[in-house]
């Protein structure tokens, strides 16, 4: 038998929560559970446990006691450590939720919160997290232990901020896929788990947004990792099961009538998912959702996306007019200008803007995509 890593990782936050409720501080509990996970991976293939969770709790508690005793004797002073665990008040669902709050605490930088969440809530090893973020394991280990020190004074039962948790999960999702860890898939798992712990319309909104974007992943890249823009994607590759789930989750959230930015973004994604061809896209409704998003967030990125949508709904001139109101220094502003000029029948300006946008692109696949657009237009112009 191979170890069910998915099960192990699902159990991680609840086991940490139980140790904390028994009196371990968070940092020590987290270390003990990581040690127990390592032992599970080693022992379970030969001796599968009858009760995996009970096994983890027992082993993690023993690891915690060992570490606490070692620490106490290292300090040459007596420290009473309860070897009989006290009663455990509170539910597991609450524990898991508290762990999300703690790992996304506002005193942490976004990168620290991401690393801590992936380890303590996600049950990933430091090595896996380091590989996913392309940094040395020692660096990631330090990032995590600093994060644990930062939250060491935070009381575990303190109510947290859902918005910061959602930002952390959004960051994890957006990192996509690198190394041997599927961060997008992991972000979806963690958001699903959060949605079980708390009924909150924006948690549902973010989950819907992730599902709807994840559904398009097979179509998003072509040969050699080439970026395939939405309009050119092979829609038969979209995962209809994920889309259906995303739409259901979104509709239930919208029915609560407390709109937020993730619900609005998910609504845009749902409208794209709903179109059988790019031509069938309901751009008028998409513009309306971007209007909501601009109202909710006043974000320049939302305004930029709105300009693209206006270009599709009311024609490229209208899109360019909307774009003219925005700061040209915005990332992707030039790329959007290039696209709208091409739609407007001005390939010379478009090619120039595409080349310029390629030079300032922040990601490799985007740069390659923009360079290819410029090259395509320049080849047409030479004919």
């Amino acid at each position: 038998m191979t170890v069910d890593e998915a099960l192990l990782r699902t159990l991680t936050p609840a086991v940490i929560g139980i140790l904390v409720r028994r009196g371990a501080d968070f940092a020590a509990a987290e270390d003990a559970v990581q040690d127990a996970l390592v032992e599970a991976v080693r022992v379970w293939p030969d001796v599968p446990p009858r009760d995996p969770k009970g096994w983890l709790i027992t082993v993690a508690w023993r690891k915690f006691l060992d570490a606490a005793r070692a620490e106490a004797s290292r300090r040459h002073r007596e420290e009473r450590v309860d070897s009989e665990p006290p009663a455990v008040p509170g539910g597991e669902v609450d524990d898991t939720l508290q762990l999300y709050f703690l790992c996304a605490h506002t005193s942490l930088t976004p990168a620290s919160a991401v690393a801590l969440t992936l380890r303590a809530v996600g049950g990933l090893t430091t090595r896996q997290i380091a590989q996913a973020y392309l940094v040395p394991e020692a660096t990631m280990a330090q990032r995590i232990s600093r994060a644990k020190r930062t939250v060491s004074d935070v009381r575990f039962n303190q109510p947290g901020d859902v918005a910061t948790v959602l930002r952390v999960l959004y960051l994890v999702f957006n990192e996509g896929y690198s190394g041997d860890v599927d961060l997008a898939g992991e972000a979806i798992r963690l958001t699903r788990q959060l949605a079980v712990s708390i009924h909150h319309e924006e948690v549902a909104g973010l989950l819907a947004l992730m599902l709807l974007h994840h559904a398009r992943r097979p179509a998003r890249t072509g040969p050699g990792g080439r970026l395939v823009p939405l309009a050119e994607q092979d829609r038969s590759l979209w995962d209809t099961r994920l889309i259906a789930e995303g739409v259901d989750v979104l509709q239930a959230a919208l029915a609560r009538d407390r709109l937020g930015e993730f619900q609005a973004q998910a609504a845009v994604a749902a409208l794209h998912a709903d179109a059988r061809t790019a031509e069938e896209t309901d751009w008028v409704q998409i513009v309306e959702w971007y209007d909501e998003l601009v109202r909710l967030t006043d974000s320049p990125v939302a305004r930029l996306n709105r300009a693209v949508a206006v270009g599709e709904a009311d024609g490229p001139r209208a899109g360019l007019a909307a774009l003219a109101e925005l700061d040209p220094a915005l990332p992707r502003h030039t790329a959007v200008a290039a696209y709208l000029h091409e739609q407007d029948g001005d390939p010379v300006t478009a090619a120039r803007f595409y080349a310029e946008a390629a030079r300032s692109a922040l990601s490799l696949s985007e740069r390659d995509h923009l360079t290819r657009q410029a090259a395509r237009l320049n080849a047409q112009l030479r004919r």
Binding site: T109, A111, A115, Q142, R146, S178, N305, S365
Partner: protein
């Protein structure tokens, strides 16, 4: 987090403030410089911002493909080449401002007379992998 390359030049950067070639430094000054670099890297590791650091030999060779079945053509080193990279450090930091701050600290490594070299370092952002949600 974003990764940045801090590039150190043998040639091609503007002249540093404390512009004494390293072969004119005392052995103690050289040791102090090396120690500073090691401490800096160790400190960045402890803050979770260190990725990599490598020195490069100044001697390099240009190489290019020369057609099917032929060995590659080599040429150089070219004494007249303006830009010569001495080494790099890769950092993973929260903001561009933090990258600048760290480059400034690295540039304060001691040189001749125990005074900071004030060397010019080039800060270059990495191109990232594409983010998932862009539409």
């Amino acid at each position: 987090m974003a990764k940045y390359l801090l590039l150190k030049h043998y040639r091609g950067a503007p002249a540093p403030v404390n512009d004494v070639p390293m072969d004119q430094w005392t052995p103690e000054e050289l040791s102090a410089h090396e120690q500073y670099m090691q401490d800096f890297a160790a400190r960045l590791e402890s803050t979770g911002e260190f990725v990599d650091s490598q020195p490069l030999s100044p001697e390099g060779t240009f190489v290019r493909y020369d057609g099917e079945g032929r060995p590659p053509v080599t040429d150089g080193p070219f004494a007249e080449t303006k830009d010569l990279i001495a080494g790099w450090m890769v950092i993973d930091v929260e903001t561009y401002e933090r990258a600048l701050e760290l480059a400034g600290e690295l540039s304060a490594a001691p040189g001749a007379g125990g005074k900071p070299v004030h060397e010019w370092l080039e800060v270059r952002p990495f191109l990232t992998a594409c983010t998932t949600i862009t539409e």
